[in-house]
Amino acid sequence: MVPLNAYLAVGAIMFSIGMFGVLNKKSGIIVLLSIELMLNAVNINLIAFSRFGFYGNITGQIFTIFTITVAAAETAVGLAILIAIFRNKGTISITDLNIMKR
């Protein structure tokens, strides 16, 4: 049986990669995908704990369903925002968006 550690390790690695993607990628779409990646890493953890946790039960899976729901909503809205930005500025490169500087 594969131990809990292994699943958690996979989750941690994916989470770090996703974080790096969020911090360093220039395309807005890839940033959104990186966020999805991080959410996925969290999902792995949730399900692993629901099976192997101290008080393992089904709630972990339920929680994952909600996470997926929220992720889907986030993707939809995020993509809509990117399209609106693209329409106004002609780019979705994150580095070009420095309106907060002013």
Binding site: M19, V22, L23, N24, I94, T95, L97, N98, I99, M100, K101, R102
Partner: protein
């Protein structure tokens, strides 16, 4: 009336505030604000004086707690003693005269309201100084008087000479003020109170060591030296003549310079307790009297002659006080205020007419300016000690006090100074008013609001001396509480009359008879006197030059060491700012990165703590 004495300084304060607020709109109407407020003050002061004249009237004192520090309480308040009442009367009267006179003299000046603003401020502080019941309050107003005087001397600030004169007056008097401050602080440390009454009581009961009394008395006297222009801090007073002439009359003749004398008179019991201090006061006063008078002999600027005369007369007062002649000193302070203010006002009237201050360019003014000539003559006679005029009585009293105290040298010095006084006053008179004109100005008599104050003051210069016969001495000393009256031999009086006539006659022989003006460079003793014993030059070589060099060193240090440090810190903060502003580049990812790094640092520090400890 006595309990309302605080009204006296209040009126000029109100006038000051009003003029600061509305001076610009009032223009020359500002004069009326000043005059009306001063008139009110004068009436109150007059009321106080009359009420205080009753021989059995008590000293009135009222105090309010100001600060309580530990078990020491500082108070503010006011006090009416005979000396105070007299000073209030003199200051308000002379100030009123000057206010009226200035309306004519300053007419057409661009900063007319400003002038009256400063006058009000000055009068307020002077009156407050006079009624202060403790040394601390007195010191506060003492400094305020100095500040107002600085403003007034530098009134013509566009003239470099006026600017430097104002600075000089401020700095030189500051040296004296420092002495005064140290003296007051030492007294407080030793006695635990600033109150005059408390200090005198402690001194009387012998709670303070004699050496300590001498020290504090001399320190307070240093303050008086600065303010009253005694040697060696006299140099600012002649330079202060750069101010408008009414200011010279008010400040540098009758009131502010008298503050030093007043202070010594007020703290007289302290001085009386120390023979050394008394001797110092008498010596400095006597020396100043003859020293300044000798300089006054040869000066050509009408106001400067009067300035040196003031220094000399103040020296007289100090001499009197130092010789235990409290009455004589205060009496001379009283009479001198009138005739010296009068002389300055007439000088102002002359300057107003011929637009020069050099007496060699005047002459023959008596024909056109009859009133001015008459009142100047009265003033000159009064200051020379002509029998029957104010100065005669007070000077006589001073000479008697000095003689009685046994300082024979000082007595003869005072007598010689009296001859000199008569001489330089009549040198002025003959050169200015008699003979042929040496100017080509179109001379007019001054307007009425200038002549009337002069006439009033000339009446006082004639009659002020007669109060001696109405128990002045008893009254001013609270029936002999402060000092004893002195009686001297009659021959002193005749000697002083001879001195006065001698001086006048000498002046007539040299300047009045043929009325010629010597030209050419002054030589020998004359040159020494003309250059005021080179005191200014001496100070500038001994004190100012090393200071300037020291200043350059400090400037260098400041520029390269301190400035370098400042530059370094500037550079440092700039660098930090640059980093900060680069972080604020408006990009979400940068902000996110900073957040993550913060989280990392937090986690690392937490786990590191757990690993290590």
């Amino acid at each position: 009336m006595l309990e309302n004495a605080w009204l006296v300084p209040l009126f000029p304060l109100i006038s000051f505030v009003l003029l600061v607020a509305f001076g610009r709109q009032l223009k020359e109407g500002a004069a009326y604000v000043g005059i009306v407020s001063l008139l009110s003050s004068f009436i109150v002061a007059l009321g106080i004086l009359f009420e205080r004249l009753g021989h059995d009237a008590e000293n009135y004192i009222q105090n309010f707690n100001w600060l309580t520090i530990g078990d020491k309480t500082l108070t503010v308040g006011f006090e009416i003693t005979p000396l105070n009442a007299l000073m209030l009367f003199v200051v308000t009267l002379v100030s009123l005269m000057v206010h009226i006179y200035s309306k004519g003299y300053m007419h057409g000046d661009e900063r007319f309201p400003v002038f009256y603003t400063y006058l009000s401020l000055f009068t307020f502080s002077m009156l407050s100084l006079v009624i202060s019941p403790n040394l601390l309050q007195a010191f506060i107003f003492w400094e305020l008087v100095g500040a107002a005087s600085f403003l007034l001397i530098g009134f013509y600030y566009f003239k470099p000479s006026a600017r430097s004169a104002a600075k000089k007056a401020f700095i030189v008097t500051r040296i004296g003020d420092l002495g005064l401050l140290i003296g007051i602080s030492l007294l407080f440390w030793q006695v635990g109170t600033f109150e005059y009454a408390g200090v005198f009581e402690a001194v009387e009961q012998g709670l303070v060591e004699p050496g300590f009394i001498t020290l504090t008395a001399i320190l307070i006297f240093i303050g008086a030296i600065g303010k009253s222009g005694q040697f060696p801090l006299h140099t600012w007073l002649p330079d202060a003549m750069e101010g408008p002439t009414p200011v010279s009359a008010l400040i540098h003749a009758a009131t502010m310079v008298a503050a030093g004398v007043y202070l010594v008179a007020r703290t007289f019991p302290l001085f009386e307790a120390s023979e050394t201090a008394m001797y110092v006061v008498a010596t400095v006063g006597g020396f100043t009297a003859i020293f300044a008078a000798s300089i006054g002999l040869v000066q050509n600027d009408i106001k400067r002659v009067l300035a040196y005369s003031t220094v000399s007369q103040l020296g007289y007062m100090m001499l009197a006080l130092g010789s235990a002649g409290f009455i004589a000193g205060v009496f001379h302070l009283f009479t001198h205020a009138f005739f010296k203010a009068l002389l300055f006002l007439t000088a102002g009237s002359v300057i107003h007419a011929v637009h020069t201050q050099n007496i060699k360019e005047m002459g023959g003014l008596g024909k056109e300016m009859k009133i001015t000539r008459a009142v100047f003559l009265i003033g000159a006679l009064a200051i020379s000690g002509f029998p029957g005029l104010a100065g005669f009585f007070s000077k006589d009293l001073i000479l008697m006090s000095v003689y009685e105290s046994g300082h024979v040298t000082l007595f003869w010095m005072a007598l010689i100074a009296a001859v000199m006084t008569a001489f330089y006053m009549f040198r002025l008179y003959f050169l200015v008013f008699s003979g042929k004109p040496r100017h080509n100005a179109n001379v007019h008599e001054s307007p009425k609001n200038m002549t009337i104050p002069m006439i009033i003051l000339s009446l006082l210069a004639i009659f002020a001396g007669y109060i001696e016969f109405f128990g002045f001495g008893e009254w001013i000393t609270n029936n002999g509480v402060i000092a004893e009256e002195v009686e001297g031999p009659k021959w002193i009086m005749y000697l002083s009359i001879i001195a006065a006539f001698g001086g006048i006659a000498l002046a007539w022989l040299m300047y009045g008879r043929d009325n010629k003006v010597k030209t050419g460079e002054p030589r020998g003793l004359h040159k020494l006197l003309f250059n005021k014993y080179y005191i200014d030059e001496l100070y500038s070589t001994v004190v100012v030059r090393p200071y300037t060099i020291f200043g350059y060193v400090l400037k260098f240090f400041d520029k390269y060491v301190i400035g370098g440090l400042v530059q370094l810190s500037v550079w440092f903060s700039k660098a930090i700012g640059k980093i900060g502003s680069r972080l604020q580049n408006g990009q979400v990812q940068a902000y996110g990165l900073i957040t993550i790094i913060g989280l990392v640092l937090l986690l690392v520090s937490l786990t590191a703590g757990r690993l290590l400890g």
